[in-house]
């Protein structure tokens, strides 16, 4: 199986805290993969390991078959893996358009990027086009620091797109954004996916994940516990336990207790579709 992104038994600890424990994950070309899990389950750490911001203690990460376990963020990006951050990070003192042009140097050698003057008209036109695509076309001249939080999220997605990445990692694209903008973001992700972009999305908004993703992986305490289609995930008791904090032992006991009275209204809550 040759996935576009392969994470193979990665572990990473911060002092005594094990953030990732033997974590394996694969993202296939052309899919929108979801990654969910309670706070502190290691999702963002996994993103940081994949994109080169953190080095794993063990395990390997491969992007398009290339080992990037010890690569720098710039190198990972140049292989076609872009990401956004949980708290949308834009260059606040640069204009929106300048933000868009930062990533245009991806295909160049370093000397060329030093010597080369301004971005070409073609690059500007393309940046403009992408800005229009995310609905920020009319804000190009504003300092990015003046944008609202939701607009920053769109801008961050847009300036990653400038470099034409193959796979994009989104860290909570819908977090802290109003429902309308969430729909727009989901809509843009779908449109990009149809054009062949692959996504790995971390998100707490279940509706967003379940409607958008082709496959979902659930992480718990640094390890993926379940992986499957949204339907499978929705009905998996382990997922509910991960979110609501039941341990495996209690789980068994509860099951036995619940079984006889399973027809009760309140008793079947754990097997209802997850709608958090």
């Amino acid at each position: 199986m040759s996935a576009l992104l392969e994470v193979d038994s990665v572990s990473r600890a911060f002092g005594g805290l094990v953030a990732l424990r033997d974590c394996s994950l694969g993202v296939q070309e052309g899919e929108v993969a979801g990654l969910i899990g309670p706070n502190g389950s290691g999702k963002t750490t996994l993103f940081n390991v994949i994109t080169g911001y953190l080095r794993p203690d063990s395990g390997t990460v491969r992007v398009r078959g290339v080992d990037v376990t010890r690569a720098t963020p710039a190198r990972v990006f140049s292989l076609g893996l872009g990401r956004t951050f949980q708290l949308a990070r834009v260059f606040s003192r640069l204009s929106v358009m300048e933000n868009m042009l930062v990533a245009t140097q991806r295909h160049e050698g370093w000397l060329r990027s030093v010597v080369k003057g301004q971005s070409s008209p073609a690059e500007r036109a393309r940046a403009k086009e992408i800005l229009e695509f995310v609905g920020l076309g009319h804000l190009g001249h504003l300092p990015a620091g003046n944008l609202s939080f939701g607009q920053r999220k769109l801008l961050e997605l847009a300036y990653v797109l400038v470099a034409d990445p193959v796979i994009i990692l989104l860290d909570e694209p819908a977090g802290g954004v109003n429902p309308t903008l969430i729909n727009l973001i989901a809509d843009r992700i779908r449109a990009l996916n149809e054009r062949g972009k692959t996504f790995l999305v971390v998100e707490h908004n279940m509706e967003f994940v379940m409607s958008l993703c082709h496959s979902v992986t659930v992480m718990h305490q640094g390890t993926p516990i379940v992986s499957g289609t949204p339907d499978v995930i929705r009905n998996d008791p382990r997922v509910i336990d991960a979110y609501l904090g039941g341990s495996d032992d209690e789980d068994d006991e509860d099951d036995e207790d619940d079984e006889p009275g399973g027809s009760r209204e309140g008793g079947s809550w754990r097997h209802r579709p997850l709608t958090m």
Binding site: R89, L94, L101, W110, S113, G135, G145, N146, G150, D187
Partner: protein, 383 residues
């Protein structure tokens, strides 16, 4: 769909309101005015020592232009990258010592010939900047400042103690140029002006290039820039080395002007602080800011030194001025003035829009826009 309602909700952020005022992009008029201003500045700089030819005045002018070059060069690294270097005196002193030692060992006679070695001094400063930058740029922000200060003291100590190379505290004497009277200062003034032109061209070139965009990006968020493929270490190091070139050349011209150099004057902490304060006063990270800051501060300092001849009074004035700037114009003169000008233009544009009768076409435009933007929130607030 309920376009209007949803649109209204997307403009909820308080920040977006800033964006909704008509921000007027700099028009051709303003750009022409800017070019005219630069030409005027250039003419003024070239004509100055010819008009005011008193040696006392041209001496002040020489130091001012020299520090304009140094502050511009400093700003083209620190101002753009956000890495405050308090160690650029290393390059200034290295440039000074380079030209002094070349003149000494090649037995150069005083005259124009010595000026040919000014770029060599800049080159030596660049070579020194490579290991210095490689070490210092491993750290960020405050730690970087401390490392540059430490490096500065190391170089001052080296100048004292490597006496086989630098002649230690005895200092090095340079050949005396054969020029007398007004011509002496004028020639040095134009030499400093040449260094300033080089520094300005480099600074403006960096600011407008894609390389400069990467520097500015990492000033705002270095990790994010790295995640967009910016090779941050390389970009920072190149900017550091390039800025060392002009500072080294300024040091060389300075040394030749003074005629002899000593470790405590060639490598002086006052230089480090001066260039930083000049850039901050004028406008950190702008092209014209360091020019203004250096012109104001250095001429003031030289004037005080000549007028009161006690070396410490101007330091007090310096301190007071710095405090005033930090309190009243924390971003520097140029950005503050530019901003209030921009706001004035916006207010004027707004007033003009308000003065017009409500045009029906605006509503039709908005409606057609809403049709084009398929998801209603595609406009995502503000317009």
């Amino acid at each position: 769909m309920t376009d209007g309602l949803l649109d209204a909700s997307t403009t909820a952020g308080p920040d977006t309101r800033k964006g909704s005022s008509p921000r007027v992009p700099l028009g051709a008029m303003t750009r022409r005015a800017k070019a005219a201003a630069w030409i005027l500045i250039a003419i003024a700089l070239v004509a100055f020592p010819l008009v005011f030819s008193t040696p006392a005045v041209t001496s002040i002018a020489f130091f001012s232009v020299l520090f304009m070059a140094a502050a511009t060069a400093w700003n083209s690294f620190s101002g753009y990258s956000g890495y405050i270097s308090i160690g650029h005196a290393v390059f200034f002193g290295s440039g000074a010592y380079t030209i002094a030692l070349i003149a000494l060992h090649l037995h150069l006679a005083g005259g124009y010939g010595v000026f040919w070695y000014v770029p060599v001094a800049g080159g030596v400063a660049m070579v020194i900047a490579v290991p210095f930058g490689l070490i210092a740029l491993r750290t960020r922000r405050h730690t970087f400042v401390v490392i540059t200060i430490a490096a500065f003291f190391i170089f001052q100590l080296l100048a004292y103690n490597l006496s086989s190379l630098t002649l230690g505290s005895r200092g090095v004497t340079l050949p005396t140029p054969p020029w007398t009277g007004m011509g002496f200062n004028q020639r040095f003034y134009y030499a400093a002006l040449c260094v300033l032109v080089v520094a300005l061209l480099l600074s403006a070139g960096i600011r407008r290039s894609r390389f400069g965009l990467q520097l500015l990006a990492l000033r705002d968020d270095e990790d994010r820039a790295a995640g967009l493929g910016v090779k941050t270490t390389r970009v920072k190091l190149i900017a550091f080395v390039v800025s060392a070139f002009s500072v080294g050349m300024a040091g060389a011209v300075w040394a030749y002007f003074l005629g002899d150099i000593h470790p405590q004057f060639a490598f002086t902490a006052l230089f480090d602080l001066s260039v930083a304060i000049m850039a901050f006063l004028g406008g950190f990270g702008t092209i014209s800011g360091p020019l203004l800051g250096a012109a104001l501060l250095e001429s003031l300092q030289q004037y005080f030194t000549i007028q009161y001849s006690s070396g410490s009074l101007y330091l007090i004035a310096y301190g007071v001025l710095f405090l005033v700037v930090i309190v009243l114009l924390p971003r520097g003169v140029i950005p503050t003035v530019a901003d209030s000008y921009q706001r004035w233009r916006e207010r004027r544009a707004q007033a003009m829009v308000n003065a017009l009768p409500p045009a029906p076409s605006t509503g039709a435009l908005a409606a057609s826009e809403a049709h084009h933007a398929r998801p209603p929130s595609a406009r995502a607030g503000g317009r």
